[in-house]
Symmetry: C2
Subunit: 339 residues, 2 copies
């Protein structure tokens, strides 16, 4: 059916070996012959069968990236940056979304065993549920880089944002603006993410000598509707809250609608700070103040750690912790405070 290297060789009247030499820029071939082969290949629109190649080379030059969710635009941005870096290192990307289903995550983790990809970058959601599978990857020394999470899985390359700092930056900003009743959203997933952010939130309060109210925290799923519901509930129960720290920008966007429905204006009657710095945050009605996720740097580090691991499997594991920065825009009303 498809045109193979044998067909090209036949048309060019050479052996497959010679055709191969021409097609792969190997030396020791007469320029004339090379031209004949390339011409035949072009005419036949020859494309090497990638499965045959991967089968013999035992390598795919493809990496898999497992995201938790396809709705949150932050992962689209990550995908972009990861793809760019991977490409420059000679790898293609296979993007996968577990969509909150442990089974899908598991299925994707198994891809490496099918030899589909040379390694995996995982934004894990179900480190606990799929614990056994993760250990299996580690035992088999599969190239793997985890994004986020604490140092649970020893021996695995890891890149994380300093979430304590993120929580601290966001909270201190709000405290500095005079807020004393600050609500905070907690992710249900992403083990280890919660503690960091909360610790930073608490420390910032302590530094100002202010109390932390447990009732100002609320658990929240990762879907927009979850954010909408959780924020509505929190503000209804604790109307004295004047500021909100959301654990991602996507969810923070839902806060705007909640505020409007409660006849509160952002930032005047409700300050909002997010986390991630998604593109939309710049262009929504009230540009969003947020803690930046250092996405470009994070993406590059993830790719580099993985490719290094693939190419030299035997170096010691690394853990890279990135320092987030506060991006002040308008959703906390600095301009008001100044006036």
């Amino acid at each position: 059916m498809a045109v193979s290297i044998y067909k090209v060789a036949e048309v060019a009247e050479v052996s497959p070996r010679t055709a191969y030499r021409a097609l792969n820029n190997e030396p020791h071939i007469h320029p004339q012959t090379r031209r004949r082969v390339l011409e035949a290949a072009r005419r036949l629109n020859y494309q090497p069968n990638i499965h045959a190649r991967n089968l013999v080379l035992q390598k795919t030059n493809t990496i898999g990236i497992i995201f938790p969710d396809s709705r949150n635009p932050v992962f689209g941005e990550f995908a972009n940056f990861i793809d760019r870096r991977a490409r420059s290192r000679g790898y293609d990307c296979y993007f996968l979304h577990s969509e909150g289903e442990p089974d899908r995550e598991a299925k994707f983790l198994n891809l490496v065993f099918y030899s589909s990809v040379d390694g995996l970058i995982v934004f894990p959601n179900f480190l606990d549920v799929n614990r056994e599978l993760y250990s299996q990857l580690i035992v088999n020394r599969i190239p793997l880089v985890l994004r986020g999470g604490p140092e649970l899985l020893l021996g695995v390359d890891n890149v994380t944002l300093d979430l304590e700092r993120a929580g601290h930056l966001a909270t201190r900003h709000l405290l500095d603006l005079g807020h004393t009743h600050i609500g905070i959203l907690n992710s249900k997933f992403a083990m280890g993410h919660l503690p960091g952010r909360i610790v930073g939130y608490q420390k910032a309060h302590q530094e100002k000598g202010l109390p932390v109210h447990p009732a100002y925290q609320i658990d929240c799923g990762h879907r927009l509707e979850d954010g909408y519901r959780a924020i509505g509930e929190l503000l209804a129960r604790q109307p004295q809250i004047t500021a909100l720290f959301c654990h991602n920008d996507y969810l923070a966007l839902a806060a705007f609608r909640v505020a409007r429905e409660m006849n509160r204006r952002v930032p005047h009657d409700l300050a909002v700070v997010g986390l991630d710095d998604i593109e939309l945050g710049q262009y929504c009605e009230v540009p969003l103040t947020t803690v930046s996720h250092m996405k470009v740097q994070e993406a590059e580090t993830l790719v580099d750690l993985l490719c290094d691991r693939i190419e030299t499997p035997d170096h010691p594991p690394r853990r890279v912790v990135l320092k987030p920065e506060l991006v002040v825009r308008e959703s906390c009303g600095v301009h008001l405070a100044r006036g």
Copy 2:
């Protein structure tokens, strides 16, 4: 390195053929033997090498989906629905983003020739630039489904939204609310999309006996910043405009920020209608009135056409045109008009 079926056979003390029978639920095998093989496979964590399999079967059970852009969340939603349907038909999905670069689109189109995927669903951006490559796909009878676009490429399965109807629905809605100066954004890409929407926009005006002002149209790229700039420019030049029809919801979101910066309130001083019905449109500060893209149905049709084509290559090509519906929320202020 990796464990092959030969290794499993060896451990289970049977021939590879028998191991194969056990692992693939073939009949004619003693239950006892089957159990022994499966047990060995489990112990060794055997996973069939997918490249060897694809090589011999000449089939991957994978389809490629080429999107134009990874930023616009609408494609994340499409990905989700496409994935669900494909899965139920026994195919995995390989999602790709051309990111506004013709070369990337071209590269991805070539994937079929590498036998990487069994067929392609394309949201084309560069039908013109890559014309030759598209013809090559068609000549070689590669399973291909195009989303959108007019009947440019004959003989290719195609699913499209009735964009004339979309333009008409949006415009009539605004006219019915009393707007007579309606701005409209034009996509630079997506040949054929423009005419439909504009025709509907014009027809709606004609039906009311109202003139169409060419100066109310403005070209606009697909990035958020393009929308922000274009909308700002349009409203600055034509301040009498009181309503805006954006060719997608993502861009429409930028209108909110522009409005705020011009001290106009949405919907009071500026009505906005989008196209796509993305999830965010429901949860942004002023829930967005939009024309729905029928994404679930569209995704299912795309997958079905492609899978049908893969499985029975010889039926005549089909073109499916979907009817969009208006989704009225608050960004055009119906509730105000009623008052």
